[in-house]
């Protein structure tokens, strides 16, 4: 609390924590670099077949030729589809969860359907979605929504139902309307549920988009991966996977930053 007179022990403790953190980071970077070097060396020495494993230098080359192979365009398509799918799935899920919270009857009616839909592998719906909405961007976005929607509904409903009963009772004793209970108690109580849902949904939307791109096969990193696999251009496949990883990390980090902003606002 009082920053001015930190004790010696406290200083030692803080230093220890910082050193520990730095050591972990350095080791992580080291492992990554060692892995890349090993990969490159083994590929150069022809211990592994770089035709099927690719190699860091070939991946770098592919990166450099980013213009000729249209990587940027494919990256943009995937990012765009993921963001739309993510937003639509999350917002729709929250709206459905609110409706379910509102009506106990509806919640009872929907429960078994939600449970079955939740355990159904949504990728199985791919061909149906393509027939219904056509093979294109809409089908891919619908796929992303299909994968994240049910989980969102279930998680948020669960959070809503588990809102502190005493707080609800307290608000009710002031004659709160259902809308007031929702906006003043239930939603603010569930901020962490929302943030967790966002984190999960980023990953799920990416899965949906990539699966959709596999099936639709027109554009996007998913398409590049499938295409590269078919023509045995492993450099392209590997490069796409790495870019996909970076995209996923950036999107996840954005949610983390959003979380920090929200939490700071609360304090």
């Amino acid at each position: 609390m009082d920053n001015k007179n930190i004790s010696e022990d406290r200083k030692k403790y803080l230093r220890k924590i910082r050193i520990n953190k730095i050591t972990v980071l350095i080791t992580q970077i080291f492992v990554l670099i060692a892995f890349i070097i090993l990969w490159e060396v083994l590929a150069e020495a022809k211990v592994i077949n770089s035709f099927i494993t690719s190699s860091p230098s070939r991946i770098l080359d592919t990166f450099m030729n980013i213009k000729s192979n249209n990587l940027m365009m494919h990256l943009w398509v995937t990012a765009y589809e993921t963001i739309i799918g993510f937003l639509a799935g999350t917002i729709l899920g929250i709206i459905i969860a609110i409706i379910i919270w509102w009506s106990e009857f509806l919640s009872k009616v929907l429960e078994p359907f939600l449970v079955v839909l939740n355990s159904l592998p949504k990728t199985a719906l791919g061909p149906i979605i393509i027939i219904w909405v056509g093979a294109g961007t809409p089908a891919i976005i619908v796929m992303a929504i299909a994968i994240s929607l049910i989980v969102t509904v279930l998680d948020i409903s669960n959070g809503f139902v588990n809102t502190d009963k005493e707080k609800i009772k307290m608000a009710k004793s002031f004659n709160a309307t259902k809308w007031q209970l929702l906006t003043k108690i239930v939603i603010p109580s569930n901020i962490s549920t929302f943030i967790n849902t966002l984190k999960v949904n980023i990953g799920l939307s990416l899965v949906g988009v990539i699966t959709g791109e596999f099936l639709v096969s027109k554009a996007g990193l998913g398409y590049l991966i499938v295409y590269g696999g078919q023509v045995f251009q492993l450099d392209l496949v590997m490069t796409s996977v790495i870019i996909l990883g970076i995209l996923a990390a950036i999107m996840y980090q954005s949610v983390v930053i959003l979380e920090k902003i929200i939490l700071r606002e609360k304090k």
Partner: protein, 256 residues
């Protein structure tokens, strides 16, 4: 002075559940005078909380009527304040935002009412903490904030359901004293459910003893101390205190 602010007539409550019926209250009749502090004690699970919930309008009753100031009330009344065991402070709101929650919900966040709340905060030593968050306050301060939130809507009668039992012993004694003096100063009638016999004696003018479930009124005891400026703390030293304690203890014991 001796008019009844609250009258309960033939209140009966039977809970329905899949595995059967639970009769919680059996024909409860009780009159509470204006300004009076009445405690309700009884064996665990006998129906004390049920009775308060019915008065607060949060639970339906099967039979009977509730009168407030001579008028029959249905549902939730703005004249009745309700305090629970947990303070129910919302941790994402500042203390000030918390204490005006009732005004906000009821749509009466007027200048006058806000001024009234500010005065309460000043009077009861929370004004400097109005921009802090609940987690930054001690248990006793939080309970005081919860009380001010309830008082903000200017209730005539306050229902307290084990309102202090989540606090540690020391804090509890202090908060009980604070709440007692605040309610006395504001001239508010109180109906207090507790499982603590000492607390019931130290706080109240009358103690109602309920039977096991389904709760019936077993007995009502007048608590009188031959002293001036009675507080929940100084009355504990009087010889009458242990006399009352024994009496109530035996009455609960025979029951339970």
């Amino acid at each position: 002075m001796s008019e009844n602010i609250l009258s309960l007539k033939n209140i009966t409550k039977i809970y329905q559940a899949k595995n059967g019926e639970t009769k919680a209250l059996d024909n409860i009749n009780l009159d509470v005078k204006k300004g009076e502090f009445v405690s309700i004690i009884g064996p665990s699970g006998c129906g004390k909380s049920t009775l308060l919930s019915i008065i607060a309008g949060l639970e339906e009753r099967n039979t009977g009527e509730v009168y407030l100031d001579g008028e029959e009330i249905e549902g939730i009344s703005s004249e009745i304040g309700y305090m629970l065991q947990k303070d129910g402070l919302l941790e994402w709101r500042t203390i000030y935002k918390n204490v005006i929650l009732g005004l906000e919900i009821r749509g009466i966040k007027t200048k006058e009412n806000e001024e009234y709340v500010n005065n309460l905060l000043k009077k009861y030593h929370l004004y400097e903490f109005k921009d802090k968050y609940p987690t930054q306050l001690s248990g006793g301060m939080r309970q005081r904030a919860a009380l001010i939130r309830t008082l903000a809507i200017k209730p005539k009668i306050l229902l307290l359901d084990e309102a202090f039992s989540a606090l540690d012993y020391q804090t509890r004694i202090m908060v009980t004293k604070d709440v007692y003096s605040i309610l006395r100063q504001e001239g508010i009638t109180a109906l207090i459910v507790t499982h603590d016999i000492s607390e019931s004696i130290s706080l109240s003018d009358r103690v109602v003893v309920l039977s096991r479930r389904p709760a019936k009124i077993k007995n009502i005891h007048e608590i009188k101390f031959d002293m001036e400026n009675r507080t929940p703390i100084n009355c504990r030293e009087r010889p009458e205190f242990s006399k009352y304690f024994d009496l109530l203890w035996k009455e609960l014991d025979i029951n339970g």
